[in-house]
């Protein structure tokens, strides 16, 4: 669950590493001294509620805003000092799509490609159409951006990030505004890119999304990085601390008493069942103990916690906007 575990992946240096990264806006601390570590080749889910400092962190990583203190290393180069060398290896989607409304999707990409001092004008048409094709936007390429739906705009922003091959993709809420089908497509796209070896840092406030595609996860809350590491470790940790058992029985009160004696916490009797937090109690002990005490066990289930439960246990709060 630590940076050590993360660093071992692939044995290569981290794609993103920050040390004590802090950003204060006047009196408000948006990001308070975080040590981010995104291993090369990872799909890193950057989680946190709206307003937790994810976008501010991403803007600092990309050199759009300066850090108040702390250091950033992006693909082995310090930022923002190495921006001209590093950023062309980084594809970015920051805080939603933004394009010229009166230009078509393709014309917008032509403009962005022209702004790149190192892009090859001769390959531009091929690369632009390939990127549009990849996000499924080729049929709408000549339509004005103004006429695009939110999902199409989002796709165009992703296409921009794919104009040239990248070593790192920084995608801030890439599935915002997409329908379920679009969300699935973007998820597949990210997995494909990662399979080719691209490191992906994807921020999201949707826990389920991160749970489905990420290898690593970092959880932001109120400007602090609460935890980061392998997603599987997070689940293991969660299982250990937050696993719930559910006993179906017709003698609810007796069952609840047995569970409490065993050491389960938060035992809650329901209508024909009892639930309790397992904690350190060995799961195999539960049913024999119930049977010994003569409680009929009509059903028994171990409920693995969702990422959301883990988050609540980490923050003590729900996944709401933090001020």
């Amino acid at each position: 669950m630590s940076a050590d575990a993360a660093r071992t992946v692939g044995g290569s240096p981290a794609a993103v590493r920050t040390h004590g990264l802090t950003k204060r806006f006047r009196t408000q601390t948006a990001v308070g001294g975080i040590d981010l570590e995104v291993p090369s080749g990872a799909i890193y889910g950057f989680l946190g509620p709206n307003g937790s400092g994810k976008t501010t962190t991403i803007r600092m990583l990309l050199g759009l805003i300066g850090a108040t203190s702390g250091s950033i290393e992006l693909l082995g180069e310090p930022m923002p000092g190495g921006a001209s060398r590093t950023l062309r290896r980084v594809g970015a989607l920051v805080e939603g799509p933004a394009f010229h409304p009166y230009l078509s999707g393709r014309a917008n990409l032509v403009r962005l490609d022209a702004a790149d001092p190192h892009s090859d004008a001769r390959t531009a048409p091929t690369r632009i159409d390939a990127a549009l094709d990849r996000v499924g936007l080729l049929p709408a390429a000549t339509k004005r951006y103004r006429a695009y739906s939110l999902g199409m705009r989002q796709r165009l922003a992703i296409a921009n990030a794919l104009l040239v091959p990248r070593d790192l993709l920084v995608l801030d809420e890439p599935t915002n505004g997409l329908d379920p089908q679009g969300t699935r497509e973007v998820r597949h796209l990210i997995e494909e890119l990662a399979a080719d070896g691209t490191t992906v840092l994807v921020s999201s406030h949707l826990l389920s999304e991160v749970d489905q595609m990420c290898t690593h996860v970092g959880v932001m809350f109120e400007g602090r990085l609460l935890m980061q590491g392998l997603l599987s470790e997070l689940h293991t940790e969660a299982d250990r601390t937050a696993q719930t058992v559910r006993v179906d029985t017709d003698r609810v009160d007796d069952a609840a008493a047995v569970l409490r004696t065993l050491g389960l916490t938060e035992v809650r009797p329901g209508e024909g069942y009892v639930t309790g937090l397992l904690g350190d109690v060995a799961v195999e002990k539960v049913v024999p103990e119930l049977v010994n005490d003569g409680v009929p066990v009509l059903g028994f289930a171990v409920l693995r916690p969702s990422l959301e439960d883990v988050f609540v246990s980490l923050t003590g709060e729900g996944f709401d906007v933090s001020g």
Partner: protein
């Protein structure tokens, strides 16, 4: 999934792949051409150019209609009276008429929008993450503003020549100093006037660009820039502030009339160019200082 994609996008991110699909040296003008296409393609700017082209035509028609009744009585640096004798003077008169407000308005529209417009739209953050480079972006934007100012000035002159020739005819030009010169020489002097004025507008563009780095509201930047222009003209018209006049950017703009004398009087024009250069250097430096360290939060 196209074949092209397999070649280009899927080239893989192994070490050094950042150079795949990229030329070692990009065509230097590609970004500038793209920027010019944006500036000249913007509807607001096209409307402004249309208005600017219409002014000399209106001017020529108005003088043609009134000249029958009363040939003299014009004001300005003396161009208006000369118009009826040679159509070329329509261009000079139109430049004098659009000099205080309309041409600066075009320059302000392009320069005030330069950075603030992209910031307001959110496209600035994508240009910078490409990375287009902050200094390179600022210079490209500035060159586009200068080109737009030059094009607007040249358009006024061109429309003036066309309207003037149509209504008053051409022929030899009688200069303000009384000497006569060929029509071609007159056109040459007009071209010099356009260049001289464009230099002044380039300085105004530097002011606009600086203001544009201060805000995310393009309209605010445009209004502020035009405000600076108008304020300088007002200050320049107050005799009690004579000590201040040499320091004002606009003070020697009307001196382009000196190009219509023989020999050409270069004193005021030289000082005008020097003032424009000083303003350009100061405000470009200020814009760079501001923009290179600015937090892009839009």
């Amino acid at each position: 999934m196209s074949a092209a994609e397999a070649d280009v996008v899927d080239a893989g991110p192994s070490t050094g792949s950042g150079n795949v699909g990229r030329a070692p040296l990009a065509l230097p003008g590609r970004f500038l051409r793209s920027e010019l296409a944006i500036v000249f393609g913007r509807r607001r700017n096209l409307v402004l150019l249309g208005v600017l082209a219409a002014i000399p035509v209106l001017l020529a028609i108005a003088i043609k209609l009134s000249s029958g009744a009363n040939g003299s009585g014009g004001d300005g640096p003396g161009f208006f009276e000369a118009i009826t004798s040679n159509g070329l003077f329509v261009a000079f008169a139109a430049l004098a008429a659009t000099l205080p407000l309309f041409l600066p308005l075009a320059v302000a529209a392009a320069s005030g929008d330069a950075i603030a417009g992209e910031a307001n739209q959110g496209t600035l953050r994508y240009l910078l993450t490409i990375p287009a480079g902050r200094t390179r972006l600022l210079l490209t934007k500035y060159v586009a503003v200068v080109v737009f100012g030059l094009a607007a000035t040249a358009l006024v002159a061109l429309a003036g020549v066309v309207a003037g020739l149509a209504l008053f005819g051409g022929g030899d030009v009688i200069l303000l100093s009384g000497t006569t010169t060929s029509f071609a020489d007159g056109v040459g002097r007009l071209a010099l006037s356009v260049l001289y004025l464009a230099a002044g507008f380039a300085a105004l563009g530097a002011i606009g660009l600086f203001v544009s780095t201060l805000t995310e509201q393009p309209i605010a930047a445009i209004v502020a820039t035009i405000g600076v222009d108008v304020l300088m003209f007002i200050l320049d018209a107050i005799p009690q502030l004579a000590w201040l006049h040499p320091w004002l950017l606009v003070d020697r703009w009307p001196a382009f009339g000196d190009l219509l004398r023989d020999p050409i009087s270069t004193d005021a024009i030289g000082l005008g160019l020097l003032t424009a250069l000083a303003y350009t250097v100061v405000f470009l430096a200020a814009a760079w200082a501001r923009f290179s360290s600015k937090d892009i939060t839009s």
